[in-house]
Subunit: 186 residues, 2 copies
């Protein structure tokens, strides 16, 4: 499968090109370095803006049309029965990478010992994601992880950062699955 | 101020007409019976559909254009610095009222002893909301609250259900504030 784009795609300060599995003129979807649950992905505007209110009408429209298409494919291929869709809009709402992003997390019955846990994990992951991306990118950070309040998540050794290869393979697989759904819905 | 509409507006099985502070052809915004934090509101499609994927492109577009306008006004009038925007899409993601709804929760620094708490509260409130609406509406329930796993939220006596008058006054105030912002952005 050819690459989706020759552009360098950035999420905040981080280059995430090989994690991107869907691109539109104004938005993109990427797989996660440390998904909270299998299939946890993000959808962002291509323009780097920190707050939802910074988006133009066209960007909002494209972003959520993309969220809807992505969530349809994610729910299908991860055999889920529900989805959490969430934006932490601003640092005081838990945002760590100052680039608008919607979390899409496929859910199924009994996927977590305590179903509420996903929200704590999400806030945790958001901080963790920035730190992990920064470590991977060797110092190209945005300096925006200031709150060390997620020990339970950070201590979960099962959620190791994935390799570039692993993410690239998942992104390529999801790109193919997105293409199948686009074909069906044409 | 004249009522926004002569229609009866329903949220799932519940009549919420006096809680509605903003209406578009396809969406509406309503104040909460038991807001998790001051300014916690919901935005829903007018058509009663349970899942995000059930919405048409036009409905998705209108819903999030409405979320953006509402969140701008809410952040301003509640003097917030950030927002949580979240959809619990399906029962296994914590949805209790089977009618698509986006939570908008204004946030500010140090608004909660533990900032992560909002997510547990949100799952709690969602269940609680359905039960409270059902009790208020005297049995017109949708039978969708099955999980009694939110004792911490239910036990918080400070979050008493608000009176119809209190909600109506807030809805009227927010409708005026929305109109001011529409004027500014014209």
């Amino acid at each position: 499968m050819p690459p989706l784009t020759k552009d360098v795609i950035k999420f905040g300060a981080f280059v995430v090109t090989n994690q991107v599995f869907h691109l539109t003129p104004l938005s993109y979807a990427l797989v996660n370095l440390k998904p909270l649950l299998p299939g946890h992905v993000l959808v962002s505007p291509r323009r780097l803006v920190p707050r939802f209110n910074d988006l133009s009408q066209q960007e909002v429209q494209d972003l959520f049309a993309t969220v809807q298409r992505v969530s349809r494919t994610i729910e299908r291929v991860f055999d889920a029965s529900a989805l959490n869709i969430a934006i932490q809009d601003g640092q005081d709402a838990g945002q760590s990478v100052p680039h608008v992003h919607a979390h899409i997390i496929p859910r199924k019955k009994h996927d977590l010992p305590d179903p509420d846990q996903i929200y704590q994990m999400m806030e945790g992951e958001d901080g963790d994601l920035a730190r992990q991306l920064r470590e991977r990118d060797d110092g190209d950070g945005d300096g925006d992880v200031k709150r060390g309040r997620f020990p339970a998540v950070d201590a979960d050794e099962r959620r190791r950062p994935r390799s570039e290869d692993e993410m690239t393979r998942e992104a390529e697989w999801l790109a193919r699955e997105m293409a199948k759904d686009a074909e069906v819905n044409r």
